[in-house]
């Protein structure tokens, strides 16, 4: 029997990916352009024995997701702009208390109510720094329907493995676009299981108090006593300790390192025609689709242009950007915001490569033609200055 081939919308693919990853709980609040994720899961979750909750707001949605995860279920929520802002408080809680969960933000134009039905990439920095305080977070950014499916599966894997919230940053184009995809067999997917620790209660307490690796979180209702807090806490006892500076420093450092020490394994990047490229386009999400088309157009004309597409945007793929900056004289960064990621590319570049930013905030996708014109312009500039 061949694999099932279906036509899905990006938002529907997120929902199916979540189910394939073993998610059995969703809490959310209707908001354009993410609502189809909630609608589909309200139908699909009960079919597979899971639960869907429509909450009173996005603050409660994020809270319920954390509660469900603590009670042993893989859980997610999905939202857009204003809802993502409301989730920031409890997103920080999940980071602090090390609760695995997945947050899908289908980006729309902002700030505030902004352009509810139009795409944007205005939340890439909010995904990184939206909640208050020093923290680390993982963020994946799909640029196709197939990737909506697979990156949602990946988000759950990373979230469980690192005990941290993971954000999937889709946008109004990717979310509402339809493409044919092959649904993989469940056993082809890398699914990180949720299970209670295998130790005895005594062994568990002993291990928690001595080792530094990430232990699976025991669930509420299990034979383990679970203590969770958003205060600074002693990682060994789980109890708040706000008086010892060393405890706060150790916890904060640990929360960063448990992600950053693994950044090579975490950061996925797609490269196209980079072997001999002299100019690179660095683009992500829906804009990467236009960028890919423009780069192909350039190659057809014999121009040495390549594409670097981050699939993980946080932690930022610094190593890939460093390498790119050594190869090329110019890096074009088209994005549906004003320089948010161009600044990061600039910061990570370690050469003389010029970083050229190009932003649109009018709710319209950057057309391949605009990127073609940028490529032509920059190659001409280079010729005249060489």
């Amino acid at each position: 029997m061949g694999k099932e081939r279906v036509v899905l919308q990006g938002n529907e693919a997120v929902a199916e990916g979540a189910l394939a990853a073993g998610a059995r709980f969703f809490a959310g609040y209707p908001i354009t352009p993410s609502t189809e994720i909630a609608e589909r899961l309200s139908v699909r979750l009960p079919e597979v024995g899971g639960a869907f909750m429509q909450m009173e707001d996005e603050i409660a949605s994020m809270a319920a997701v954390i509660g469900a995860s603590l009670a042993g279920k893989k859980a997610l929520t999905a939202t857009s702009g204003p809802g993502f802002s409301l989730m920031q408080e409890n997103l920080g809680y999940a980071a602090m208390a090390q609760v695995p969960c997945v947050v899908v933000n289908v980006m729309r134009g902002g700030p505030s109510t902004g352009l509810p039905t139009d795409p944007s990439q205005g939340d890439v920095m909010q995904a990184r720094w939206g909640t208050h305080g020093e923290h680390s977070i993982i963020t994946l950014i799909p640029s196709s329907v197939k990737e909506c499916y697979h990156l949602t599966v990946r988000a759950f894997e990373l979230s469980e493995r690192h005990r941290t919230p993971v954000i999937v940053l889709s946008d109004a184009i990717i979310g509402h676009m339809r493409e044919a995809i092959e649904l993989p067999d469940p056993d082809e997917l890398r699914v990180y299981p949720r299970r209670d620790p295998d130790y005895s209660v005594e062994e568990y307490e002993e291990i928690v108090s001595t080792v530094d690796n990430i232990l699976p979180q025991a669930s509420l209702g299990s034979r383990f006593k679970v203590h969770v807090t958003g205060l600074v806490y002693d990682r060994r006892s789980g109890s708040p300790d706000t008086s010892a500076p060393s405890v706060a420093a150790e916890l904060g450092t640990y929360l960063r390192e448990k992600i950053y020490l693994h950044r090579d394994a975490l950061t996925d990047v797609e490269e196209l025609f980079m072997d001999d490229a002299e100019l690179a386009v660095f683009a992500y999400g829906s804009v990467a689709r236009s960028a890919k088309s423009a780069v192909r157009w350039a190659r057809e004309r014999g121009l040495k242009v390549g594409l670097v597409r981050p699939i993980t945007i946080w932690p930022f793929p610094t190593a890939a950007v460093e390498e790119m900056s050594r190869k090329v004289h110019t890096i074009i960064v088209p994005e549906m915001n004003l320089r948010q990621i161009a600044w990061e590319v600039q910061a990570a570049s370690c050469s003389e490569a010029r970083v050229v930013d190009y932003g649109r905030i009018d709710g319209k996708l950057i057309h391949p033609r605009e990127i073609q014109e940028l490529i032509e312009r920059e190659l001409t500039v280079k010729e005249h200055t060489a």
Binding site: P46, M53, E56, A63, A64, A71, G230
Partner: protein
């Protein structure tokens, strides 16, 4: 397929039938269920009394302790999560009921108890309160109502009375206070009770009745804050403050008769008790329908 209950069947409060009898335990037995020997609560604070009432209630019901999950918000009473020896989740300010709702839906076998302060529950968390009550989800909300923000040093809360002084109402509060029990009842809670720190045995019975009730239970514990509320208003003397509770608390069965109904008095006991389909039961019905539909 299980039929959904269409109408809320109201029943007059019958305390005797709802409330389990509780024989207070020796303090050593209570201490065995505490993780801390010291608290950050001020001398004279009644939070310790309410905490004891909660532990008494859990012990009296002989619950499977592995299945007890205590959620709390932020504020003085939120620190209960550090003190009691059950699984605990110290959540964010006002959001405890939303965290707890997710956990209860994910694992309906949990005995979920949610501790909140008056500001926590009725100001920043007011929206979560009314919706948790409306859903009739089987969690027990226990509110420590001391009519003040204690942790931040004595600001007015949604249960501070008109005319009361606080550090943000120096000239006398001009906002009306919420009656939390009426709010919970109007929002759909199917078990509503009020007790006092003064009568902790009754309070323990009221909490036990709430945990036993299959649906959203709301228990308001009238607490005292002699340091931040008392000094600015009634009295800074904890014993005197507790004695005033004795005068102000009127049994629900006689409240409103004759001269008892004055503005500073309030009814105590089970104020409302009804049966209505519980939310996680509704979730189960939904699953059955979805799976039957899928097979059809």
């Amino acid at each position: 397929m299980t039929a959904l209950v269409d109408e809320q069947t109201l029943r007059a409060p019958e305390e005797g039938s709802v409330l389990p009898q509780i024989k207070p335990r020796p303090i050593s037995e209570i201490r065995a269920h505490l993780r801390a020997t010291r608290t950050l609560w001020c001398p004279g604070c009644s939070n310790g009394i309410v905490t004891r009432a909660l532990v008494e209630a859990i012990l009296a019901l002989d619950l499977d302790e592995d299945k007890v999950a205590i959620f709390a918000g932020i504020g003085c009473c939120g620190r209960i999560t550090t003190y009691v020896d059950y699984s605990t989740v110290h959540t964010t300010h006002g959001r405890a009921l939303a965290f707890a709702s997710g956990a209860k839906v994910a694992d309906p076998d949990l005995h979920v108890i949610v501790v909140m302060g008056d500001g926590d529950c009725a100001a920043i968390g007011g929206n979560h309160l009314i919706h948790a009550a409306r859903r009739n989800i089987d969690v027990t909300a226990l509110v420590f109502n001391n009519s003040i923000y204690g942790m931040t040093g004595g600001q007015m809360s949604p249960t501070t009375h008109v005319g009361d002084r606080s550090t943000t109402s120096r000239y006398g509060n001009v906002e009306r206070a919420f009656d939390l029990c009426e709010l919970a009842h109007a929002s759909g809670a199917t078990y509503v009770a009020r007790g006092t720190a003064w009568d902790y045995r009754q309070l323990a019975r009221l909490i036990a009745g709430g945990i036993n009730h299959h649906g959203f239970s709301f228990v308001e514990a009238m607490a005292i804050c002699p340091v931040y509320y008392g000094r600015q208003n009634l009295t800074a003397d904890p014993a005197e403050f507790l004695t005033l509770q004795k005068e102000h608390a009127v049994p629900a069965s006689t409240y409103g008769e004759g001269v008892a109904r004055r503005h500073e008095t309030y009814p105590v006991g089970v104020l409302h008790h009804a049966e209505f389909e519980e939310y996680t039961d509704g979730q189960r019905v939904t699953r059955q329908r979805a799976q039957e539909h899928g097979r059809g």
